[in-house]
Amino acid sequence: MKKTLIMLAAAAMILPAAFSCKKNNSENQPFTLADPVNKPHQVKVEFVTKASSAEAQEIKVKGVDGRTAALKSLELTNGQKAIAIIDYANREVENPKAVKAEIGAKVCKYTVKAVKATPGTTYEIEGLGTFTLNQTGDGYSITAVVDGETVTVNVTEVKAMVGADSDLFKKVAREWKVKATTINASGTGIPAGLTKVFNDGCNLESIGEWISSKIEGVSAEKIAALKGYNVSGVILTESGSVSIEFTGKDAFAGTLNNLDINAGTFGYVFESTEGNMILSARATGIIRVVGNKLFLTLVGAANYNETNNYNVEVIFELEAA
């Protein structure tokens, strides 16, 4: 009895010697999201433009801001969305090659479901027009009816998929929505790297106002330029495109330039019409697959005032739409 009492007392005195944190295992979980319903093949067509052929016609479309320019490519995604890349570069100059390329991207809905782009199929694309795929002798052409005008343009390339052997790449090709946005800022005037997490999607105007409240020298014009940049979604396509869609502005469009499937990362290069103080027009982006979430990191340096240089890293946490 005495020994039992002593041993119980000794056991009560020995407290846990180590503190351990239970690591969250979501990073090691595989991607398990099911394919979207009725997922058709995605297709991307690139058009012959005047710069490459004097005889070729152009399909003129309007961007979100009302500017009209030639349609460079049209991509149909499995989410009933079409990504139209608009070539704003002014080609009515003596030396077109000297013109800096300006690309605008417009994301529209289309109503015709198709298992694949079958010749003869007509797609009604909201905000653009109707487009019919034709098969020519050894290729394809598109007959477009835009604003009452009909024009047929040869297609230089019809892309099916990039990374066809990658199941993961095919699985992440869908629409995503932004769950949270993390801003990491560093540079002169900031004694340590600063982080701010926005848990309500991504509204660049709100983010810009926050940055200007913390960092000196951010002009009101730069904040005003962010109006309308409210991210409504991100689209990844099997042809290697990524599009960041905004509610009131042209989308940001990027193309795949690196595919490291083993690490679950995809690298993209963006080329958009206008950059702003948060998203650089020619940013590079990396998408990492973590469990059933995607993280899109965009890095772009921007001068916010004349004396301080800040780097801003934007990370979108994406979940399936």
């Binding site: 020994k3 000794a10 010697a17 944190c21 993390t182 997490v197 973590v290």
Partner: protein, 317 residues
Amino acid sequence: MKKTAIFLTAAAVFLSVNLHAQDVTVAEEAFDPTAFVPQEDKMIFNHLALGVSPTDFSTLLVPVVATTLTPYVQIRGGLDWFPPLKASWVLGRFGKADLLNIKDIPFGGNNYTFNLDGTLNASDIKLLFDIFPTKRTSFHFTAGFLVSLSGGKVIKAFTTEPFDKDPSDWESLGVNIHNAQYCIMTDKTGNMQMSLKTNAVKPYLGIGFGRAIRPDSRVRVTFDMGVYYSGGFRVAFDNVHPRTAGGSWDMTQKLTYSLTSDDLTGSEWSDTLTQEQLDSWGLSQFGVKGPIKALDYMKRVTSWCPYLKLNIFIKIF
């Protein structure tokens, strides 16, 4: 005649029964030659002593307990109590300003001063093993460990004013450290929580005099002298989130991160102290020579801590 016969018969029956009983009661007991030899005391938890020990910087006495394991080993346990103290102080910038003076800290055009409230909790519970070279000697070696009651957080402190005045930034605004692999996030009140921390479990080695329990003695006095390994004092931050594989911060994990001089190298928060600063604080007279990196130096010199303790035990059994 009849009465006589009955009486004789009853007497015969009575006597025969009693004689039989006497046969049983008068049987001889076997002789056990070991009955008077005392059994050897194997000591294993056979004895218990309770006692008291004075606390540091206080008149309080705290309980201690001891028991025996073998004639050469005794086990002691108890509480090392340090009265909790509350204090407030101001933290200024390292390097360019005096550490404890009130200085504005420039941050993106806005100036911040860190006012801190803190609580000191240096109490431990201990488990010690006294190892005696012989069965009778009072001199012993001691090995064991001390366990911090506050999880190693000797001083817990928090900022008294929000790091950022905007409530929408609370729990979403933080500072990146360690090559942006960790983020110190503000808590739900906009404050940051930090501590002066040691290891939670501290091994002890020492020597001592006196046996806590001696079977032939009721009251015993023991004395301990040794060192324990604390791991060194370091400044740690709570509410720290690690970076995820995706690049954002894992808000589901909350860690305690101990700051090092390397974390501050190259930033405006350098912890390098010059000889001039050391002279002005009077640290030079203790042989501290600059320039030194304050965090690393503090951790190094406080890794091993002295330990002195007096105990009085009363044997219970």
